[in-house]
Amino acid sequence: MKSTTCDATPGGPAALAAAHLDYLLRLGDNALVLGQRLAEWCGHAPVLEEELALTNVSLDLIGQARLLLSHAGQLEGRGRDEDALAFLRDEGAFRNWTLMELPNGDGRHDDYAVTILRNALASALHVALWQALTDSSDEQLAAIAARSVKEARAHLRHAGEWVVRLGDGTDLSHARMQAALERLWPYTQEFWSEDETERRVSAAGIGVLTASLRPQWEATVADLLTRATLTRPRDTGFLSTGKLGRHSEHLGYLLAEMQSLARQHPGAAW
Protein backbone atom coordinates (compact mmCIF):
# COMPACT_ATOMS: atom_id res chain seq x y z
CA MET A 1 0.00 0.00 0.00
CA LYS A 2 2.68 2.44 1.02
CA SER A 3 5.59 0.31 -0.06
CA THR A 4 7.81 3.14 -1.26
CA THR A 5 7.47 4.94 2.06
CA CYS A 6 7.93 1.73 3.99
CA ASP A 7 11.17 0.85 2.31
CA ALA A 8 12.60 4.26 3.10
CA THR A 9 11.78 3.91 6.77
CA PRO A 10 14.51 2.73 9.12
CA GLY A 11 13.54 -0.67 10.38
CA GLY A 12 11.58 -1.52 7.26
CA PRO A 13 7.91 -2.27 6.60
CA ALA A 14 7.44 -4.54 9.60
CA ALA A 15 8.67 -1.86 11.99
CA LEU A 16 6.42 0.70 10.36
CA ALA A 17 3.39 -1.59 10.57
CA ALA A 18 4.08 -2.13 14.26
CA ALA A 19 4.42 1.62 14.84
CA HIS A 20 1.23 2.28 12.88
CA LEU A 21 -0.69 -0.19 15.06
CA ASP A 22 0.85 1.23 18.22
CA TYR A 23 -0.11 4.77 17.16
CA LEU A 24 -3.73 3.80 16.50
CA LEU A 25 -3.91 2.05 19.87
CA ARG A 26 -2.64 5.21 21.57
CA LEU A 27 -5.32 7.31 19.90
CA GLY A 28 -8.04 4.74 20.56
CA ASP A 29 -7.03 4.07 24.16
CA ASN A 30 -6.89 7.79 24.97
CA ALA A 31 -10.48 8.12 23.81
CA LEU A 32 -11.65 4.90 25.46
CA VAL A 33 -10.08 5.48 28.87
CA LEU A 34 -11.17 9.11 29.17
CA GLY A 35 -14.64 8.11 27.93
CA GLN A 36 -14.84 5.48 30.68
CA ARG A 37 -13.70 8.00 33.33
CA LEU A 38 -16.35 10.50 32.28
CA ALA A 39 -19.03 7.81 32.27
CA GLU A 40 -18.32 7.33 35.99
CA TRP A 41 -20.13 10.64 36.56
CA CYS A 42 -23.36 9.11 35.28
CA GLY A 43 -25.77 9.37 38.21
CA HIS A 44 -23.33 11.46 40.30
CA ALA A 45 -22.84 14.79 38.53
CA PRO A 46 -23.49 17.99 40.49
CA VAL A 47 -26.37 19.12 38.24
CA LEU A 48 -28.46 17.38 35.62
CA GLU A 49 -27.19 19.54 32.74
CA GLU A 50 -23.60 18.62 33.52
CA GLU A 51 -24.48 14.98 33.87
CA LEU A 52 -25.83 15.11 30.31
CA ALA A 53 -22.81 17.06 29.14
CA LEU A 54 -20.26 14.64 30.56
CA THR A 55 -22.07 11.55 29.36
CA ASN A 56 -22.44 13.09 25.90
CA VAL A 57 -18.73 13.87 25.77
CA SER A 58 -18.12 10.30 26.94
CA LEU A 59 -20.36 9.02 24.16
CA ASP A 60 -18.37 10.95 21.55
CA LEU A 61 -15.10 9.59 22.92
CA ILE A 62 -16.29 6.00 23.01
CA GLY A 63 -17.60 6.40 19.47
CA GLN A 64 -14.14 7.59 18.39
CA ALA A 65 -12.52 4.72 20.29
CA ARG A 66 -14.73 2.16 18.53
CA LEU A 67 -13.69 3.45 15.10
CA LEU A 68 -10.02 3.67 16.02
CA LEU A 69 -9.81 0.26 17.68
CA SER A 70 -11.79 -1.40 14.85
CA HIS A 71 -9.31 0.10 12.41
CA ALA A 72 -6.37 -1.04 14.55
CA GLY A 73 -7.78 -4.57 14.71
CA GLN A 74 -8.20 -4.76 10.93
CA LEU A 75 -4.70 -3.45 10.37
CA GLU A 76 -3.28 -5.99 12.80
CA GLY A 77 -5.03 -8.79 10.89
CA ARG A 78 -5.19 -11.23 13.77
CA GLY A 79 -8.94 -11.26 14.07
CA ARG A 80 -9.21 -8.91 17.04
CA ASP A 81 -12.21 -6.58 16.78
CA GLU A 82 -13.00 -3.45 18.82
CA ASP A 83 -14.41 -5.53 21.69
CA ALA A 84 -11.41 -7.84 21.86
CA LEU A 85 -9.10 -4.84 22.01
CA ALA A 86 -11.18 -2.94 24.57
CA PHE A 87 -12.13 -5.80 26.88
CA LEU A 88 -9.50 -8.49 26.52
CA ARG A 89 -6.24 -6.59 26.72
CA ASP A 90 -4.47 -6.25 30.04
CA GLU A 91 -3.17 -3.08 31.60
CA GLY A 92 0.32 -3.26 30.10
CA ALA A 93 -1.11 -3.45 26.58
CA PHE A 94 -2.99 -0.14 26.93
CA ARG A 95 -1.29 2.84 25.32
CA ASN A 96 -3.18 5.87 26.66
CA TRP A 97 -1.51 8.88 28.27
CA THR A 98 -1.47 8.49 32.05
CA LEU A 99 -3.46 11.75 32.29
CA MET A 100 -6.51 9.98 30.88
CA GLU A 101 -6.62 7.25 33.55
CA LEU A 102 -6.21 9.48 36.62
CA PRO A 103 -9.27 9.42 38.88
CA ASN A 104 -11.92 12.13 38.65
CA GLY A 105 -10.61 13.66 41.87
CA ASP A 106 -7.93 12.72 44.37
CA GLY A 107 -8.84 9.03 44.28
CA ARG A 108 -11.07 9.23 47.34
CA HIS A 109 -13.46 12.03 46.44
CA ASP A 110 -14.65 13.06 43.00
CA ASP A 111 -13.71 16.61 42.13
CA TYR A 112 -15.41 18.49 39.33
CA ALA A 113 -12.44 20.85 38.98
CA VAL A 114 -10.10 17.95 38.17
CA THR A 115 -12.62 16.37 35.78
CA ILE A 116 -13.35 19.50 33.81
CA LEU A 117 -9.76 20.74 33.71
CA ARG A 118 -8.53 17.42 32.34
CA ASN A 119 -11.16 17.67 29.61
CA ALA A 120 -9.94 21.17 28.76
CA LEU A 121 -6.24 20.21 28.66
CA ALA A 122 -6.88 17.05 26.64
CA SER A 123 -9.39 18.52 24.20
CA ALA A 124 -7.15 21.56 23.56
CA LEU A 125 -4.60 19.06 22.25
CA HIS A 126 -7.16 16.90 20.48
CA VAL A 127 -8.43 19.86 18.45
CA ALA A 128 -4.91 20.41 17.09
CA LEU A 129 -4.16 16.70 16.75
CA TRP A 130 -7.31 15.70 14.86
CA GLN A 131 -6.97 18.74 12.61
CA ALA A 132 -3.43 17.66 11.70
CA LEU A 133 -4.49 14.04 11.20
CA THR A 134 -7.13 14.98 8.61
CA ASP A 135 -4.09 14.94 6.27
CA SER A 136 -2.95 11.47 7.30
CA SER A 137 -1.85 9.12 4.54
CA ASP A 138 -3.94 6.49 6.36
CA GLU A 139 -7.28 7.33 4.74
CA GLN A 140 -9.38 5.69 7.43
CA LEU A 141 -7.54 7.61 10.13
CA ALA A 142 -8.00 10.85 8.16
CA ALA A 143 -11.74 10.13 7.93
CA ILE A 144 -12.00 9.48 11.66
CA ALA A 145 -10.00 12.66 12.35
CA ALA A 146 -12.27 14.83 10.18
CA ARG A 147 -15.24 13.80 12.32
CA SER A 148 -13.45 13.83 15.65
CA VAL A 149 -12.13 17.38 15.26
CA LYS A 150 -15.67 18.73 15.31
CA GLU A 151 -16.39 16.84 18.50
CA ALA A 152 -13.12 17.94 20.11
CA ARG A 153 -14.03 21.58 19.44
CA ALA A 154 -17.32 21.13 21.25
CA HIS A 155 -15.57 19.39 24.16
CA LEU A 156 -13.07 22.25 24.42
CA ARG A 157 -15.84 24.83 24.39
CA HIS A 158 -17.75 23.05 27.15
CA ALA A 159 -14.74 22.43 29.40
CA GLY A 160 -13.23 25.86 28.66
CA GLU A 161 -16.36 27.65 29.81
CA TRP A 162 -16.27 25.83 33.12
CA VAL A 163 -12.56 26.42 33.65
CA VAL A 164 -13.19 30.16 33.32
CA ARG A 165 -16.38 30.12 35.36
CA LEU A 166 -14.79 28.22 38.23
CA GLY A 167 -11.32 29.76 37.99
CA ASP A 168 -12.71 33.29 37.90
CA GLY A 169 -15.49 32.40 40.32
CA THR A 170 -15.51 32.40 44.11
CA ASP A 171 -12.40 32.15 46.29
CA LEU A 172 -13.22 28.50 46.93
CA SER A 173 -13.82 27.56 43.30
CA HIS A 174 -10.67 29.44 42.27
CA ALA A 175 -8.56 27.63 44.88
CA ARG A 176 -9.91 24.24 43.83
CA MET A 177 -9.32 24.97 40.16
CA GLN A 178 -5.74 26.04 40.85
CA ALA A 179 -5.19 22.90 42.94
CA ALA A 180 -6.53 20.78 40.08
CA LEU A 181 -4.13 22.53 37.72
CA GLU A 182 -1.16 21.78 40.01
CA ARG A 183 -2.27 18.15 40.23
CA LEU A 184 -2.74 17.54 36.49
CA TRP A 185 -0.12 19.78 34.89
CA PRO A 186 2.87 17.43 35.34
CA TYR A 187 1.05 14.73 33.36
CA THR A 188 0.74 16.96 30.28
CA GLN A 189 4.49 16.58 29.73
CA GLU A 190 3.83 13.11 28.36
CA PHE A 191 2.13 14.71 25.34
CA TRP A 192 5.47 16.02 24.12
CA SER A 193 7.88 13.14 24.64
CA GLU A 194 8.99 11.71 21.32
CA ASP A 195 9.71 8.05 20.66
CA GLU A 196 10.24 5.56 17.83
CA THR A 197 6.51 5.08 17.26
CA GLU A 198 5.91 8.78 16.70
CA ARG A 199 9.03 9.23 14.57
CA ARG A 200 8.13 6.30 12.30
CA VAL A 201 4.49 7.25 11.74
CA SER A 202 5.27 10.90 11.19
CA ALA A 203 8.03 10.09 8.70
CA ALA A 204 5.50 7.96 6.80
CA GLY A 205 2.85 10.70 6.85
CA ILE A 206 0.50 8.53 8.92
CA GLY A 207 0.80 10.51 12.11
CA VAL A 208 2.39 13.63 13.54
CA LEU A 209 4.98 14.40 16.17
CA THR A 210 2.74 15.58 18.97
CA ALA A 211 5.47 18.00 20.09
CA SER A 212 4.95 19.93 16.83
CA LEU A 213 1.46 20.83 18.09
CA ARG A 214 2.77 22.26 21.33
CA PRO A 215 2.81 25.96 20.33
CA GLN A 216 -0.84 25.74 19.34
CA TRP A 217 -1.75 23.95 22.57
CA GLU A 218 0.23 26.39 24.69
CA ALA A 219 -1.57 29.34 23.05
CA THR A 220 -5.02 27.86 23.63
CA VAL A 221 -4.26 26.90 27.22
CA ALA A 222 -2.54 30.20 28.05
CA ASP A 223 -5.57 32.11 26.82
CA LEU A 224 -7.87 29.93 28.87
CA LEU A 225 -5.80 30.23 32.06
CA THR A 226 -5.57 34.01 31.70
CA ARG A 227 -9.32 34.34 31.42
CA ALA A 228 -9.74 31.98 34.33
CA THR A 229 -7.24 34.00 36.43
CA LEU A 230 -5.26 30.80 37.01
CA THR A 231 -1.48 30.56 37.25
CA ARG A 232 0.32 28.22 34.87
CA PRO A 233 2.38 25.81 37.00
CA ARG A 234 6.09 25.46 36.38
CA ASP A 235 7.15 22.45 34.35
CA THR A 236 8.78 19.78 36.48
CA GLY A 237 11.05 16.95 35.42
CA PHE A 238 8.26 14.43 35.95
CA LEU A 239 7.34 12.38 32.90
CA SER A 240 4.57 9.79 32.93
CA THR A 241 4.79 6.77 30.61
CA GLY A 242 1.27 5.50 29.96
CA LYS A 243 1.68 5.58 26.19
CA LEU A 244 4.55 3.11 26.57
CA GLY A 245 2.31 0.75 28.55
CA ARG A 246 3.71 1.67 31.98
CA HIS A 247 0.74 3.06 33.85
CA SER A 248 -0.24 4.52 37.19
CA GLU A 249 -1.93 2.32 39.78
CA HIS A 250 -5.32 3.69 38.68
CA LEU A 251 -5.71 2.05 35.27
CA GLY A 252 -6.03 -1.49 36.63
CA TYR A 253 -9.08 -0.57 38.70
CA LEU A 254 -10.67 1.24 35.77
CA LEU A 255 -10.15 -1.77 33.51
CA ALA A 256 -11.46 -4.17 36.14
CA GLU A 257 -14.74 -2.30 36.19
CA MET A 258 -14.89 -1.82 32.43
CA GLN A 259 -13.88 -5.36 31.45
CA SER A 260 -15.38 -7.63 34.11
CA LEU A 261 -18.75 -8.15 32.44
CA ALA A 262 -17.29 -8.92 29.03
CA ARG A 263 -14.79 -11.34 30.57
CA GLN A 264 -17.39 -13.14 32.68
CA HIS A 265 -19.54 -13.73 29.62
CA PRO A 266 -17.13 -14.32 26.75
CA GLY A 267 -18.68 -13.68 23.36
CA ALA A 268 -21.98 -12.51 24.82
CA ALA A 269 -23.99 -10.17 22.59
CA TRP A 270 -27.04 -8.10 23.39
Binding site: L52, A53, T134, D135, I144, R147, R153, E161, T220
Partner: protein
Protein backbone atom coordinates in the same frame (compact mmCIF):
# COMPACT_ATOMS: atom_id res chain seq x y z
CA UNK B 1 -44.30 -8.03 -0.58
CA UNK B 2 -45.54 -6.04 -3.55
CA UNK B 3 -42.11 -6.41 -5.12
CA UNK B 4 -42.52 -10.16 -4.98
CA UNK B 5 -45.86 -9.73 -6.75
CA UNK B 6 -44.30 -7.41 -9.34
CA UNK B 7 -41.35 -9.57 -10.17
CA UNK B 8 -43.54 -12.64 -10.09
CA UNK B 9 -44.92 -11.45 -13.44
CA UNK B 10 -43.12 -12.28 -16.62
CA UNK B 11 -42.12 -8.68 -17.39
CA UNK B 12 -38.72 -7.87 -15.79
CA UNK B 13 -38.59 -4.56 -14.01
CA UNK B 14 -35.94 -2.15 -15.22
CA UNK B 15 -33.05 -1.95 -12.76
CA UNK B 16 -33.41 1.83 -12.63
CA UNK B 17 -37.02 1.67 -11.55
CA UNK B 18 -36.26 -0.96 -8.93
CA UNK B 19 -33.39 1.10 -7.63
CA UNK B 20 -35.58 4.21 -7.45
CA UNK B 21 -38.22 2.29 -5.57
CA UNK B 22 -35.67 0.94 -3.08
CA UNK B 23 -34.33 4.44 -2.61
CA UNK B 24 -37.83 5.78 -1.92
CA UNK B 25 -38.34 3.09 0.74
CA UNK B 26 -35.05 3.95 2.45
CA UNK B 27 -35.50 7.72 2.13
CA UNK B 28 -38.81 7.52 4.00
CA UNK B 29 -37.27 5.80 7.05
CA UNK B 30 -37.36 8.23 9.98
CA UNK B 31 -34.77 9.18 12.56
CA UNK B 32 -35.42 7.13 15.72
CA UNK B 33 -34.89 10.10 18.03
CA UNK B 34 -36.51 12.83 15.95
CA UNK B 35 -39.34 10.98 14.19
CA UNK B 36 -40.46 13.97 12.09
CA UNK B 37 -37.22 13.81 10.10
CA UNK B 38 -36.68 11.25 7.36
CA UNK B 39 -33.18 10.06 6.48
CA UNK B 40 -33.47 12.19 3.36
CA UNK B 41 -34.27 15.29 5.45
CA UNK B 42 -31.36 14.55 7.74
CA UNK B 43 -28.91 14.23 4.83
CA UNK B 44 -27.33 10.96 5.95
CA UNK B 45 -28.37 8.89 2.94
CA UNK B 46 -25.42 8.61 0.55
CA UNK B 47 -26.37 5.91 -1.91
CA UNK B 48 -28.89 3.17 -2.66
CA UNK B 49 -27.88 0.73 -5.37
CA UNK B 50 -28.47 -2.79 -6.57
CA UNK B 51 -25.59 -5.21 -6.42
CA UNK B 52 -26.50 -8.47 -8.15
CA UNK B 53 -30.07 -8.21 -6.90
CA UNK B 54 -29.10 -7.19 -3.36
CA UNK B 55 -29.95 -3.69 -2.21
CA UNK B 56 -26.87 -1.95 -0.82
CA UNK B 57 -27.49 1.22 1.19
CA UNK B 58 -24.70 3.61 2.18
CA UNK B 59 -25.34 5.96 5.07
CA UNK B 60 -23.07 8.27 7.02
CA UNK B 61 -23.19 8.48 10.79
CA UNK B 62 -24.06 11.84 12.35
CA UNK B 63 -22.09 12.06 15.60
CA UNK B 64 -19.37 9.41 15.91
CA UNK B 65 -20.91 7.98 19.05
CA UNK B 66 -24.54 8.58 18.09
CA UNK B 67 -26.52 5.62 19.44
CA UNK B 68 -29.11 6.15 16.71
CA UNK B 69 -26.69 4.99 13.99
CA UNK B 70 -27.16 1.30 14.80
CA UNK B 71 -30.92 1.71 15.07
CA UNK B 72 -31.05 3.54 11.73
CA UNK B 73 -29.26 0.62 10.05
CA UNK B 74 -31.73 -1.82 11.62
CA UNK B 75 -34.71 0.30 10.57
CA UNK B 76 -33.44 0.48 6.99
CA UNK B 77 -33.09 -3.29 6.81
CA UNK B 78 -36.56 -3.74 8.32
CA UNK B 79 -38.16 -1.29 5.89
CA UNK B 80 -36.49 -2.98 2.91
CA UNK B 81 -37.50 -6.41 4.18
CA UNK B 82 -41.11 -5.23 4.40
CA UNK B 83 -40.87 -3.98 0.83
CA UNK B 84 -39.60 -7.34 -0.41
CA UNK B 85 -35.80 -7.10 -0.06
CA UNK B 86 -35.02 -9.32 2.94
CA UNK B 87 -31.25 -9.47 2.35
CA UNK B 88 -30.38 -5.77 2.06
CA UNK B 89 -26.98 -4.57 3.24
CA UNK B 90 -26.22 -1.29 5.01
CA UNK B 91 -22.72 0.16 4.67
CA UNK B 92 -21.42 2.99 6.83
CA UNK B 93 -19.25 5.62 5.10
CA UNK B 94 -17.23 8.03 7.21
CA UNK B 95 -16.11 10.42 4.48
CA UNK B 96 -16.98 13.09 3.73
CA UNK B 97 -18.04 13.70 7.32
CA UNK B 98 -21.69 14.58 7.88
CA UNK B 99 -22.52 18.14 8.78
CA UNK B 100 -25.81 19.74 9.82
CA UNK B 101 -25.38 21.85 6.66
CA UNK B 102 -26.56 18.77 4.78
CA UNK B 103 -29.99 18.92 6.34
CA UNK B 104 -32.65 19.72 3.75
CA UNK B 105 -34.81 22.87 3.84
CA UNK B 106 -37.86 20.65 4.22
CA UNK B 107 -36.16 19.03 7.18
CA UNK B 108 -35.44 22.39 8.78
CA UNK B 109 -39.09 23.42 8.36
CA UNK B 110 -40.30 20.16 9.90
CA UNK B 111 -37.94 20.58 12.82
CA UNK B 112 -39.23 24.08 13.53
CA UNK B 113 -42.85 22.91 13.31
CA UNK B 114 -41.97 20.14 15.73
CA UNK B 115 -40.65 22.68 18.25
CA UNK B 116 -36.92 22.24 17.65
CA UNK B 117 -34.91 25.22 16.40
CA UNK B 118 -33.04 24.09 13.25
CA UNK B 119 -29.23 24.33 13.22
CA UNK B 120 -27.41 27.46 12.07
CA UNK B 121 -24.44 27.15 9.68
CA UNK B 122 -21.71 24.78 10.91
CA UNK B 123 -18.79 26.73 12.40
CA UNK B 124 -16.03 25.20 10.31
CA UNK B 125 -17.82 25.46 7.02
CA UNK B 126 -18.98 21.88 7.49
CA UNK B 127 -18.66 19.16 4.91
CA UNK B 128 -15.30 18.13 3.62
CA UNK B 129 -12.00 18.20 5.37
CA UNK B 130 -8.83 19.78 4.10
CA UNK B 131 -9.70 23.41 4.80
CA UNK B 132 -6.34 24.40 6.22
CA UNK B 133 -3.97 21.97 7.84
CA UNK B 134 -2.05 23.09 10.85
CA UNK B 135 -2.98 26.75 10.72
CA UNK B 136 -2.31 29.33 13.38
CA UNK B 137 -3.75 29.17 16.85
CA UNK B 138 -6.48 31.56 15.79
CA UNK B 139 -7.97 29.25 13.17
CA UNK B 140 -8.76 26.56 15.73
CA UNK B 141 -9.71 28.78 18.59
CA UNK B 142 -13.34 28.12 19.24
CA UNK B 143 -13.56 29.09 22.88
CA UNK B 144 -16.39 31.60 23.09
CA UNK B 145 -16.55 32.06 26.79
CA UNK B 146 -19.81 32.91 28.44
CA UNK B 147 -19.64 34.40 31.89
CA UNK B 148 -22.36 34.17 34.45
CA UNK B 149 -24.51 37.26 34.81
CA UNK B 150 -26.32 39.31 32.17
CA UNK B 151 -27.11 37.12 29.17
CA UNK B 152 -28.57 37.56 25.70
CA UNK B 153 -26.09 40.37 25.08
CA UNK B 154 -24.07 38.51 22.49
CA UNK B 155 -26.43 38.04 19.58
CA UNK B 156 -23.49 37.82 17.19
CA UNK B 157 -22.65 34.19 18.01
CA UNK B 158 -25.38 32.58 15.93
CA UNK B 159 -28.15 32.15 18.48
CA UNK B 160 -31.27 30.35 17.29
CA UNK B 161 -34.70 31.91 17.03
CA UNK B 162 -37.55 30.64 19.17
CA UNK B 163 -39.30 27.96 17.07
CA UNK B 164 -42.67 28.95 18.56
CA UNK B 165 -42.80 32.74 18.39
CA UNK B 166 -39.71 33.44 16.20
CA UNK B 167 -38.29 35.82 18.79
CA UNK B 168 -34.51 36.32 18.56
CA UNK B 169 -34.41 37.00 22.32
CA UNK B 170 -33.34 33.64 23.66
CA UNK B 171 -30.91 32.34 26.26
CA UNK B 172 -29.03 29.09 26.51
CA UNK B 173 -29.88 26.98 29.53
CA UNK B 174 -27.59 24.04 28.78
CA UNK B 175 -25.19 23.17 25.99
CA UNK B 176 -26.26 19.53 26.25
CA UNK B 177 -29.94 18.70 26.04
CA UNK B 178 -32.26 15.76 25.58
CA UNK B 179 -30.04 14.09 22.98
CA UNK B 180 -26.37 14.45 22.03
CA UNK B 181 -27.24 16.67 19.06
CA UNK B 182 -29.35 19.23 20.94
CA UNK B 183 -28.90 22.11 23.36
CA UNK B 184 -31.57 23.47 25.70
CA UNK B 185 -32.67 27.09 25.26
CA UNK B 186 -35.39 29.35 26.63
CA UNK B 187 -37.27 32.08 24.80
CA UNK B 188 -37.23 35.36 26.71
CA UNK B 189 -40.31 36.60 24.86
CA UNK B 190 -42.80 33.74 25.16
CA UNK B 191 -40.89 32.16 28.08
CA UNK B 192 -41.11 28.67 26.58
CA UNK B 193 -38.09 26.36 26.73
CA UNK B 194 -37.05 24.70 23.48
CA UNK B 195 -34.47 22.37 21.98
CA UNK B 196 -31.85 23.67 19.54
CA UNK B 197 -30.33 21.26 17.02
CA UNK B 198 -26.66 22.25 17.35
CA UNK B 199 -24.60 23.05 14.25
CA UNK B 200 -22.09 20.23 13.74
Amino acid sequence: MDRAADSGGSVPIAADATQARARAVVAAVTDPEIPVLTLDDLGVLRDVRLDAGTVVVTVTPTYTGCPATGVIAQDIRAALADAGWPDARVDIALTPPWSTDWMSDAGRRKLRDYGIAPPGPAADGGGTSGNGTSGGAASVHPVHLVRRGPTAATAATGQPECPRCSSPRVERLAEHGSTACKALYRCLTCREPFDYFKPY
